[in-house]
Amino acid sequence: MPEEATSSTFASERLHINKGAEETVRELLRSLLESGKVDAVLALGRTGNGSGGVAYSLFRDPAAFEADGDAVPLLPFMPANAGGLLSRLTLEGALDEPVAAMIRPCELRAFVELVKLSQGSLDNVLLISSTCGGVYPLDADIDGRLEEKLPEYWEGVARGELSDDARPTCRACQHFVPEGADITVALLGEADLDTECTLQLNTERGATFASEVEGTPISEKPKSEAIDRSQSEREAFREELFAGVGVGLKDLIHTFGRCIGCHGCKTVCPICYCHLCYFDSQNCERPTGYYEGELVRKGGLRVPSDTVYFQLGRMAHMAVSCVGCGMCTDVCPADIPVSTLFSKVGAAAQAVFDYEPGRDVAEEIPLRTFEEEEFAQVAT
């Protein structure tokens, strides 16, 4: 039966557990599977024979979450935005039985956006998230080098700090406290992460699924000092990051000069869901006459055409829903700071409509609605 993602009548509960965060999460997910409360868990897992390789997996065997199992639910890595994966899972039909998903705040927001776009269903999805300390870029795990970074990473998270090597978009993120999760694992700023853990049960569904967890209910509000500090640090970094990407046509041309038109940014973007992207369709296959015409008009043009057109067009299509996850920069073979640009444009566009993607599944996407009286200054 469909449930609302957020229940306004439910008061958040907090559970204090005498085990480290990693152990707590593993045990929670393992027991959810073993007890049959959920049919599967979507979480990160190791692939390959030991020298790197991480992918999201749909786990059904509880053994995967044992200490030596393949699952690595809290690994600071994002090989794909899980919001897009949840969409893929539920696109052709809602889940009949519960499935738990251990995902990051931006992935959760992306999924909520996709649900609004009819690209998935929240039914029977148990959303587990955490206060996020960011992820490393994709190339950090080549040959398994990510392992070496983990101790430093977790020390930093316990202090409420992000690694300098984390994705720049993570270091600039303003939405690292998840909204709309059924269960939130407190990580950022939790000084004793390896011996204790606090779970926040935000919804009735969360509380029901976590009912077997051995922990002490606590009533005190979570410390927000570390969260606040991280917020202002990230705001400062964000300003710096956005200022670092040039504005103006010349800068835009420079930035996308290296673009090879692979559209990888679009493919990994959780929001870009079109089965056949407009920019891959026949509409953007230019007849020879088009090239010849532009050649005469300008004296020359880049081939294939529409490199910058694709970027601006994609902005026009998805900027209002951009959750700033950073997958696009990560996948770019030409080292273009796509996410910085798209996050910047996205944030500005979202501000115009006073909109935050993914904060509320009931909030309509700004381009799908309108008011009788608004934006009077736009029409002249």
Partner: protein, 143 residues
């Protein structure tokens, strides 16, 4: 050497029921207007995809005009309200990227009985674009 005066190339997306009719009426009444607007008739200003605007600029337009019925009078009820939001979005993108195209994109409401208003808008926009000069995008090779 002959100095060629810059003649702006403006693409105008005019809605069939209101602005296009006004434009037609202006023509029939032989009102004088600069010849800079290339008219593309659309059934509703809400038909205008942001990509139309981008395509126009990338193919060399110096200005883009979208014009439709006044809010509340749209032949399809709310198309013009959607056009207004899309225009707000495009202007935000242009502004954030510092492309200086916001002033080259204009959204107007001109009803079918407002032929003189159509003439005024075209004259004013033509003057605005002339002052701004040719669009910086039109001669870029590395697009």
């Amino acid at each position: 050497m002959e100095e060629q005066e810059f003649q702006p190339a403006i693409v105008g997306f005019l809605c069939n029921w209101c602005t296009y009719a006004a434009a037609d009426s202006a023509g029939v009444s032989r009102f004088k207007m600069p010849p800079s607007v290339m008219v593309v008739r659309v059934m509703c200003s809400g038909r205008v995809d942001p990509l139309f605007v981008l395509t126009a600029f990338f193919l060399g337009a110096d200005g883009v005009l979208i014009s439709g019925c006044w809010p509340g009078q749209c032949h399809y009820q709310v198309g013009n309200l959607q056009a207004r939001r899309r225009t707000a979005l495009l202007k935000s993108i242009f502004d954030t990227l510092g492309l200086e195209l916001e002033d080259r994109l204009r959204l107007s409401w001109i009803s079918s009985s407002e032929a003189p208003r159509f003439v005024r808008v075209v004259k004013a926009f033509d003057r605005q674009i002339t002052d701004l000069g040719p669009s910086p995008i039109r001669d870029e090779l590395f697009l």
